[in-house]
Symmetry: C2
Subunit: 331 residues, 2 copies
């Protein structure tokens, strides 16, 4: 459990330092509880509402932490990131606060709200075609020309430490309120939030089981855990969970998750739509598809919360209004 | 300022007692802050999210407090309430928890979500026609036949004390976080929440100015404050803010509000729709029309928050999905 030989794995002290670093700018998001949901699953559900985080997702945590640690020369040369939208907004907002020039490479089919918001934070947005172009190739052009720093979405120790602050807050509040958390379900794309929360749990609440939740077709973490090595998703896989569409687990994140997770679950698009509608109707929260996978896992019975205290992440809320309207009226 | 001769006005001790009484069942709702909103109004806005309260509005506070104080004989004979929906749900949910039989008289044009939820809490719902029937007459039948207790929506000391717990929480958290609140804007129908928060402020934060916010056409509190006596709204007035459509200020609530308010503001339906869309898009919160009037007042510039710290209530989130979808896509 000590990640022998890997000095890249953030320590708990890194998460604590990140928490101090982001405190003046990030939202300490509430850990919400809803009587109707508790009754529905016959357990106690604690909702970590990262939908209410600055930029509408947890991604601001890691981005602000990472960018704060750049030295002056790096800051002067700017940063580049590729992202379908939430990491983009997190990096753009953090860069704006810190006065750093920022270029974001985004797929042209990203939700328009995410593209617009990223531009509104002052970032230069470069769109590419997910099917025919390589975001890495486009990014490397900016990196070479400007000497900019690439801010990876998840496979970076200080990004993982930043996302870990979400877990730190969950367990701090659980301790304050005298609640023993049996399990935490985490929305999982590349696995940065999952790894960060798992590292926080290892220190603060080792008895809590940590599960990754993925969209069907993108259960690369589930399959990789089973195989004991990183596997890729099928190239033609599709899901409405735009925030979670990574080709495979990260190298560093998988190393952590392989050691610390109790398992991984997968939910269908239809289950996600139902969870989003439930959230708007009953929780009064706007949750984007990728942010609703854990709630979907509970409501669809993929995870049995009966007689348990289960914390789940609602990792983001950046969905296009027309899509939200469709989900709300169709379900 | 001592409400001479009126022993009905709840004391601060009544609010504190209510807070203890409701604590095991009510949500201590978060006081949220959003960087984008702060920038939009060039001030600091604290959002008291009663949308996240049990039953989706602040009304559970007063209802549970009031019902808890019934004696056993009263509890056995049941309770009756009339309400367009939020008080209905609050009373029904409180009655269910306390094992009290409950009848709710609701207008047949109340949002269907509110009617359905009230029934789901186990209440008997009696619908009436707002234009041709008297809810008081219908209620009195149940009161006479069963010896039930009428639970008034606002003009009741223990209802006001219960709603005052919302103010108590705002000022407690402001103190903990070292924030001086310059003003509180409160969604105002009959004035129960407004009066409760004003009473809490008088004790905990006397420098905070308290404002009622009403829908245009239902600015009875504004006009009554100006006239120095309770005035009625025009009988043909209409607004999308179904939760705030009271004919006039309450007798007791107006007595309190007349002494303690700094003023009252009014917002149009269009401003409310824009505020609801802003809340879903930027705050990731579902807010019903009546719950969005304070946000509307800020965004429309009816209240200038520049360089101020302003707390506002988002008093409820119980809107029909089709209406929310329309607001979200049309605005």
């Amino acid at each position: 459990m000590n990640f022998p030989g890997n000095t890249q794995v953030p320590s708990f002290a890194d998460i604590e330092a990140a928490s101090q670093r982001i405190a003046p700018r990030a939202v300490r998001t509430p850990l919400l509880e809803n009587a109707y949901l508790n009754e529905a699953v016959n357990g106690r559900v604690l909702l970590k509402a990262e939908t209410l985080q600055r930029t509408g997702s947890f991604k601001f945590r890691g981005a602000f932490n990472r960018l704060s640690l750049l030295d002056d020369s790096q800051k002067a040369k700017g940063v580049v990131a590729y992202s379908s939208g939430n990491h983009a907004q997190g990096v753009a907002a953090a860069a704006k606060i810190l006065g750093i020039e920022c270029t974001i490479i985004m797929p042209n089919d990203a939700p328009s709200l995410k593209i617009a918001n990223t531009r509104n934070y002052g970032a230069e947005v470069v769109l590419y075609d997910r099917k025919t172009e390589s975001r890495e190739a486009i990014a490397s052009k900016f990196l070479d020309d400007r000497g900019a720093t690439l801010i990876r979405p998840f496979d970076d120790p200080q990004i993982i430490a930043g996302q870990g602050t979400c877990g730190l807050e969950i367990f701090e509040e659980a301790n304050e309120r005298d609640m023993a958390i049996n399990a935490v379900l985490v929305c999982c794309g590349g696995g940065g939030l999952t790894a960060g929360i798992a590292l926080a749990a290892r220190e603060m609440s080792p008895a809590s089981q940590i599960y990754a939740v993925e969209p069907k077709g993108f259960e690369d973490t589930a399959r990789s855990l089973a195989a004991g090595k990183r596997l890729e998703n099928a190239p033609d896989a599709a899901s409405i969970c735009d925030a979670l569409l990574t080709p495979s687990p990260g190298e560093l994140t998988f190393q952590i998750n392989q050691q610390l997770l109790s398992g991984a679950l997968a939910v269908s698009d239809e289950q996600v739509r139902e969870a989003m509608a439930f959230a708007m109707r009953n929780l009064k929260l706007v949750v984007e598809p990728g942010g609703a996978v854990c709630l979907a896992a509970l409501l669809a019975g993929q995870f049995d919360a009966a007689d348990k205290t289960v914390a789940i992440t609602l990792s983001g809320g950046n969905a296009d209004p027309a899509f939200l309207a469709d989900v709300m009226t169709a379900t």
